[in-house]
Symmetry: C2
Subunit: 441 residues, 2 copies
């Protein structure tokens, strides 16, 4: 193993050993301090910034006119279910060419790759380029304070480009990068029709909350997945020719995903460009759960008094996560669902998409292609969500995500890991990007 | 306490002490043997009949030309949750003028009232009238073998009238009787859309089982509760003028139930005759449960792979519980729900309604009114279900239910009880009915 992998492994082992589970408020300050220490060791000035949930680690330093801002997070998902781990989630383990442990990919492995890439840059070129780091501690619980933090520190964070937290290779081993994330807002719908559960024989005269909620849920979209809430699509920014071109270049994974997921067909029979467009560039509504009444074995003649459903909306530019619940309420009201209560579960995240024509996007793609010796896949935004919007909005700079993972990393699951070969090539791509960005072609 | 109440209490204590929980297969043979013993002690020939689940206690004896058949059951509901009982569910306890224990009303208290009424009859009139008893041991699990038992023993069971298992006074203290029960069939609907749960971001392209099942469920009825399955109402026998008259005589409880249940309004705004007609004489569909995906606190961005709903149909003469699942399947198929699987959870029970013009119905009503000194309420059938149909069908005799309970008896719940005053008047009404039936007015 080369020297830089030895070093990476030691750094990663240090970070994985701190159980920074934000959902449980565990070891967050300890994690923040350790991250600050590693950034200082690299030659940056680091500090813990308070007042926005767990400490935000901010660091800056290096030389040059342009600044590159790194966004990462030091918190991790809970390790449960523990019994499914083959080794201690909080002790780095190496097996079959991979490093195992909670956070090895999401996001401690990515942070370490960046530290190592910067160290390699300095060794090779004799100086540290001008970089800033924002490493937060509550990404895994929806980054509830990050938008305020970025707004309040917009001058401090000023940079010409942003490197987003993670990335890697796709299922076919192709390196990929992305220039945006969908927004999200998570809601609950609740219906109560009686003071208590009744014997089901009263179903002849008493309203059933499952029927009411089922009808409300069915009213949200059509059979092909199009959202039927008036005004929902109004703020959707039309795709630029460049965005359509980029979408059409994404390899069509619809057939392989169909068999992997065990689905008969995708919504509306989408494939090729339409599949990519829906998945990466269109908003949607998802039902996460629906619960009411009896769910045990056999039957129970009960008429439940209440029902609830959980759902999330994935949003694209320029939809507004604060407006969507209002549109939903108005829709339900207009459809006669006065009895359906809408509860916003989380503050939500705005959608974000960088300008695909920005030179930084091209540099990042080129760095990947040079390091991997293969064509890189560019996603205008990922299907998932994250707190990218406040950075784009307040810093007026593009953000690109690339990194060291692969689809089998088991992010958020037991036996999370990264493959060492991915880490090595991903880190070399980061180094190449630093060179292209700070030193020119 | 009068001698007959002392005796009743002793008999009831004996039966309650045997934990005949059919759902758990507990003490059923012991219960059957004890019941047979009590029937023998009354002077009947009793035997345990095998081959139809737990033993059926059959007994007959007495003198006369006409025969009255009693249907009761010796099994009870599970006592759970045990911690909510104020005294041991399987030890009879007397508190504030009531007898507490599992089965004190449903159905051991009712059986004891009949034993005592027959003993009082013999003491008063010097002979035992010609009676038969069928006391089964799996009523609380849906009487899965009773229809076969009655069919196979139709000659043995022959009788001119049947006294159904239970009854009592309503919430206003009025004695009531009923001449039928709704049928029932319990089903589960299942939808699976993928091999495993996915991240909710795939909701942009992958079908959601909650949406599919919600739409299927919403297709079953209209906003007023009318079932939309083609053919569902086809076999519904039109009400006779006598049945409509009887329905219109039932006191309107819609206002008091509305406030008791905490409901805004009943389906279709039903009240008075329409309320009674829907509750006691019309079929309906009830959703008992709906479960899919995440149901914990906050949100979880998951796209579940499957969803299921449990439902029951309450049926009226001459609907067929074996036909309804087929009609449902055809309806779902026709609506495009090829992905919704229909699973029949229980064999179901046919609806049953005796001829309201039959003299036995009139005698039973008169007996109640004489014993209570108040007008009795006659229900053409109850809103609930039970295994009455095979008796009516095979014996060609009317069945009437009356008894010793009240709506606060906590049947199936902790602290089940009967009020001693109800027991006393109910037993006197039974005695009066025996006199009217066997001796004439």
């Amino acid at each position: 193993m080369s020297a830089f992998l030895q070093e990476a492994r030691a750094l990663l082992a240090e970070l994985v050993a701190i159980p920074t589970v934000s959902a449980e408020g565990r070891a967050l300050r300890e994690g923040a301090e350790r991250v600050a220490g590693l950034l200082e060791a690299l030659g940056l000035r680091a500090e813990l910034q308070e007042g926005y949930g767990p400490p935000v680690v901010y660091a800056e330093g290096g030389e040059g006119e342009k600044t590159l801002l790194f966004y990462n997070h030091y918190d991790v998902q809970p390790p449960d279910p523990l019994e499914l781990w083959e080794s201690d989630p909080f002790a780095l383990a190496e097996r079959e060419g991979a490093w195992y442990g909670r956070g090895t990919h999401d996001d401690k492995g990515e942070l370490v790759a960046r530290l190592v890439a910067l160290r390699l840059f300095r060794e090779k070129h004799g100086f540290l380029p001008r970089v800033k780091f924002v490493v937060e501690g509550e990404e895994e619980v929806g980054s509830p304070h990050l938008a305020d933090y970025v707004r309040d520190h917009r001058d401090l964070l000023r940079a010409e480009a942003i490197l987003w937290e993670a990335g890697g290779v796709d299922a076919q081993g192709r390196p990929y990068l992305y220039a945006g994330l969908k927004g999200i807002v998570a809601l609950e719908l609740r219906v109560r029709t009686a003071a208590f559960d009744l014997h089901s024989s009263y179903g002849a005269v008493v309203e059933n909350p499952i029927y009411r909620l089922a009808r409300a849920v069915a009213s949200l979209r059509d059979e092909e997945g199009r959202v039927l809430i008036p005004g929902f699509y109004e703020r959707v920014r039309p795709l630029t020719p460049k965005e359509v071109e980029v979408l059409s270049e994404i390899p069509d994974e619809s057939e392989s995903l169909k068999s992997l997921f065990g689905v008969r067909d995708f919504l509306g029979g989408a494939r090729n460009l339409e599949f990519n467009q829906r998945l990466y560039a269109e908003p949607c509504v998802n039902l996460n759960g629906f619960h009411a009444g009896y769910g045990g074995p056999g039957s129970k003649t009960v008429l439940p008094a209440e029902a609830f459903a959980k759902l999330d909306f994935r949003l694209v530019p320029d939809q507004d996560p604060e407006e969507v619940p209002e549109l939903l309420r108005r829709h339900l009201e207009a459809q006669g669902f006065h009895d359906v209560e809408v509860v916003v579960l989380e503050k939500g995240e705005h959608p974000a998409r960088s300008d695909l024509a920005h030179p930084f996007v091209g540099l990042a793609r080129r760095a990947l292609e040079e390091a991997f010796g293969a064509r890189a896949v560019l996603y205008p935004n990922m299907a998932g969500s994250g707190p990218m919007y406040p950075f784009l909005h307040h810093l007026k700079a593009p953000a690109v995500g690339l990194g060291v993972g692969y689809p089998g990393s088991r992010v958020h699951s037991p036996n999370e890991h990264i493959r060492i070969a991915d880490f090595e090539r991903g880190t070399r791509a980061l180094l190449r990007l630093l060179e292209l960005y700070f030193l020119g072609g």
